[in-house]
């Protein structure tokens, strides 16, 4: 993984940059010693590590504004960071960039039950929002598996999803407003407690922009009333095709489950050995279908799902009868990643999305690739929305295996795009899938995205080296070329 070459001029000016930051953020908010910076050297994509130029932890919006204005004026790069749980390297430091940590923005500012919104600072954890409102029977719907640690500001940057996206949407569908700071230091409000934008939907474009457009300093989210009843159905199928047909049939019957998860035989084996959830070991594929809502509706739909599953040849059909049993059904699925971690030194988790109708063929092809690359693959995924999470098993200490794992991963993502899917459903591009962007997008597609970036950050100072396989200068991108003259294409180094 190559990052942009470090700017020697910036490295030389490090002392001056640290001094300038200390003026803006007095006290212990500026960390420039190696030991102090060590906790920031990577995010959850921990195979890649890099020390930042310096870490700054502002406490006020004015400080964030002053830092960004300083960066803009002095042409210093800056990497924003929430809790550092990105799975794609979105918050990985860059050696010649300031790491701007939002961890001190950790207060819940306002909870307005009548309007069903919460206004919080970006460092509040995803789960922290739900915890703050659960005593009134409310929650915040998107639930990425890192929800105990990940920050809501990071969720905005990554448009985080979770298990319940099909019914309740991603971050973008549950976000009402943000306050953000632009590279100029200007503070702007997008949205609020009301719905929809008065102009262009910049809130929508900020969501999932991976920290490349601005720094979020306040977040307003929609709260939902907790469903009164939640039940899960555990289904075992003798074939993956049977399980996939069941998923399609449930949706075709007009049922949108709260969650619909699938695990292949390998995943079931690992999970069962790890937590003993009582999964059927004879099944080739396991489905967990969760239904939530008013009790009478849930009971009605559980019966429908049971019926559909039997019609599609399910050999195991079990319905949770109490909360304990429901949690047990989920225990194996939720522990799938650590369970796989028990049988392999390392694994790589991919995140492509495909049309549901292509699931079976994608799984079959993935197994062929597994033979070709001589590496095992285990599959758990959000079947309801076609978001795959193949886990490639390898040993990072073996350079050849690491290389093969990277190749295998890239092949899987190419396959996702080929069948009409996309590179990433919820983890983000970051540095991980950056160099594959050309598989999904043409050069024109990417140029258009980069031009949008230029509207926010004309000097490419925010989160450099992420998302785009190559950066082109805004002045060059901004030229309007009339007629069939090809745009000049200078030899800018790829990184």
């Amino acid at each position: 993984m190559q990052m942009p070459p470090l700017d020697p001029d910036i490295l030389r000016r490090r002392g001056e940059i640290v001094a300038a930051l200390r003026v803006i953020v007095p006290g212990e908010g500026v960390i420039d010693d190696l030991e102090g910076m060590r906790p920031y050297e990577c995010d959850a994509l921990s195979a890649y590590r890099q020390m930042p130029l310096v870490v700054v932890l502002p406490e006020t919006v004015d400080q964030v504004s002053a830092i960004l204005r300083y960066c803009q004026d002095s042409k210093v790069k800056v990497v924003p960071r929430g809790a550092g749980t990105s799975l794609s390297g979105g918050s990985m430091p860059v050696g010649d960039a300031i790491l701007l940590g939002l961890g001190k923005f950790n207060r819940v500012l306002e909870i307005d039950y009548a309007n069903r919104v919460a206004r919080v600072q970006p460092g509040v954890t995803n789960l922290g929002i739900s915890k703050a409102v659960e005593h009134e029977g409310f929650y915040y719907a998107p639930d990425p598996s890192s929800q105990i640690a990940c920050s809501i500001g990071g969720n905005v940057a990554e448009n985080s999803g979770g298990v319940h996206c099909l019914k309740y949407g991603l971050t973008t569908n549950n976000l009402l407003g943000i306050e953000m700071v632009l590279m100029t230091g200007e503070v702007v409000q997008l949205g609020g407690k009301h719905l929809d934008s008065e102009g262009y939907d910049l809130l929508g474009v900020m969501t999932g922009s991976e920290g490349l457009l601005g720094v979020v300093t306040e977040v307003t989210v929609r709260l939902l009333r907790k469903p009164s009843t939640v039940r899960a159905v555990l289904l075992g199928f003798p074939t993956e095709a049977g399980a996939a047909e069941c998923v399609a049939a449930v949706i075709a019957a007009g049922i949108i489950p709260g969650g619909m998860e699938m695990m292949d035989k390998e995943a079931v084996k690992c999970a069962e050995a790890y937590v003993g959830a009582g999964y059927p070991m004879d099944a080739e594929a396991l489905l967990i279908v969760e239904l939530d809502g008013p009790q009478v509706e849930v009971d009605h739909l559980v019966a429908r799902v049971e019926e559909i599953a039997r019609e599609r040849g399910a050999t195991t059909v079990r319905v949770s009868h109490d909360e304990q049993e429901r949690v047990l059904f989920w225990a194996g699925r939720k522990a799938a990643f650590p369970a796989v971690g028990q049988i392999t030194p390392d694994y790589m988790c991919l995140d492509g999305s495909v049309p549901r109708g292509r699931l079976v063929e994608v799984l079959a092809e993935m197994r062929e690739m597994s033979k070709k690359h001589r590496l095992r693959v285990v599959n758990v995924f959000h079947a309801g929305d076609g978001n795959l999470h193949p886990l490639i098993l390898f040993d990072a200490n073996d350079a050849d295996e690491l290389h093969r794992a990277e190749e295998f991963g890239a092949d899987i993502l190419r396959l996702c795009v080929r069948v009409g899917g996309v590179l990433t459903g919820e983890h983000g591009v970051g540095i991980e899938k950056r160099d594959l962007m050309g598989v999904q997008f043409t050069e024109i597609d990417l140029d258009q995205q980069m031009r949008l970036k230029c509207a926010f950050d004309p000097d490419h100072l925010l989160n450099p080296g992420k998302v785009f396989p190559q950066l082109r200068r805004c002045a060059e991108l901004g030229r309007v070329v009339v007629h069939h003259n090809k745009l000049p294409f200078p030899d800018i180094p790829r990184f």
């Binding site: 973008t172 009301h194 262009y200 739909l301 959000h382 459903g425 949008l452 309007v480």
Partner: protein
């Protein structure tokens, strides 16, 4: 007279834009032109008519996705979905009659470009939440795409959000993929009679905060309506739950069955309850639900003839004011004040829309950013110049 270009293929569309760019002209981009009376008046060199790019490209009900060409009439899409018991969950309104045209016109992409949404905006989101991806042409004459056909996608910037609600000012689309959802078996409505605005909004907010999954909450003079949708036993139980929850309001209650409910909510969706004079100006105000009644009270104090009703639990106010040269825009926006929210002038004569900001003015830093965003797509301002200005 302005001439019209009507491309028949995505490549012809691209060539048309490239030609306009080279020729230095501007384009009035239209599907069926059903919403041309909305927005600032424009004076364009050419009309770019997208109705030649029409038809369903792909519809897979079990994928919950429909892909179609930009000029496809919305009625055609809705009829197709209805055959498979599915729907556009954002419930796009038919603003034709409100804007003085026939009902049943317009394209789905036109509704997306206005980010329109009906009563179900509350629970299901707006057009922005359902546009999964698109392909089109930018103001440089370049064909590009964004998003995809899958439910979950965070690959690159979410340009679909930006295009939804851009009123055709950023790019010209040739194809979109839109998320669809199952249509409910039953639709019923609980009516509370005789509540004033404040009590009604309070009741609607209580209902929205209950576990009864209300998918529409509107308050018309004298009638407050709560919509419950789904399978029969669930609808029955939730209606009962709502009655119990709201017994304390003291309001008399009635119920509407499925057919009556559908008709009722279609009227709310299409702004039919605003029975104002045909020359009245119509505003759409988006605000925090609990602020709705105070905003309306401030405006009624100023203009006693003002008429209003509420959707989105109070967060959407449809307001009719007597005709005036400036549509009372200062008063309307002043009434929103610092509570957060915005007002859009939906209906007014062309002469009024020429001098009044139709879309809510933005603070300078945000307005400058929006201008840079516009220029990143359409640097020569080919598409619908000035419509949002």
């Amino acid at each position: 007279m302005t001439s019209t270009i009507k491309p028949r293929s995505p490549e012809e569309l691209r060539q048309a834009v490239e030609w306009a760019l080279n020729d230095g002209t501007t384009l009035d981009v239209r599907g069926q032109g059903s919403k041309i009376a909305l927005g600032r008046p424009m004076s364009c060199g050419q009309v770019l008519d997208l109705s030649g790019l029409s038809g369903i490209v792909d519809y897979a009900p079990e994928e919950l996705v429909v892909t179609l060409r930009a000029g496809t009439p919305i009625g055609e899409v809705e009829a197709l979905l209805a055959q498979r018991n599915q729907m556009l969950a954002f419930e796009p309104p038919d603003l034709g009659p409100l804007l003085g045209r026939e009902a049943g016109q317009g394209t789905l992409v036109g509704a997306v470009m206005g980010n329109l949404a009906g009563p179900r905006r509350l629970s299901a989101g707006a057009a922005r939440d359902h546009l999964l991806g698109f392909s089109g042409v930018n103001g440089r004459g370049e064909a590009f795409k964004s998003g995809g056909k899958v439910m979950k996608n965070v690959t690159g910037y979410d340009l679909s959000k930006l295009l939804a609600g851009s009123w055709g000012t950023l790019a010209v689309l040739d194809q979109v993929s839109v998320k669809v959802l199952p249509a409910p078996d039953q639709t019923r409505t609980l009516l509370l009679l005789g509540l004033d605005d404040a009590a009604a909004v309070s009741a609607m907010c209580a209902a929205m905060g209950s576990p009864h999954e209300v998918s529409g909450a509107a308050h018309l003079p004298g009638r407050t309506a709560l919509r419950i949708e789904g399978v029969a036993p669930s609808v029955e139980a939730r209606l009962k739950g709502l009655r119990d929850l709201l017994a304390g309001t003291g309001a008399a209650m009635e119920e509407l069955g499925t057919l009556e409910s559908r008709a009722f909510w279609r009227e709310v969706r299409d702004v039919a309850p605003l029975g104002a004079a045909r020359d009245a100006v119509v505003w759409k105000i988006s605000c925090p639900p609990t602020e709705g009644p105070a905003i309306v009270a401030r405006l009624k104090a100023l203009r006693p003839a003002a008429e209003a009703f509420y959707d989105w639990s109070g967060g959407l106010v449809w307001l009719a004011l007597p005709a005036s040269a400036d549509a009372d825009h200062v008063a309307v926006r002043g009434a929103i004040g610092a509570t957060g929210g915005h007002a859009t002038l939906i209906r007014a004569p062309e002469a009024v829309r020429a001098v009044v900001p139709v879309f809510h003015p933005q603070p300078p830093a945000l307005a400058a950013l929006a201008t840079r965003v516009k220029e990143s797509f359409d640097p020569r301002r080919l598409f619908n110049p000035g419509r949002m200005g």
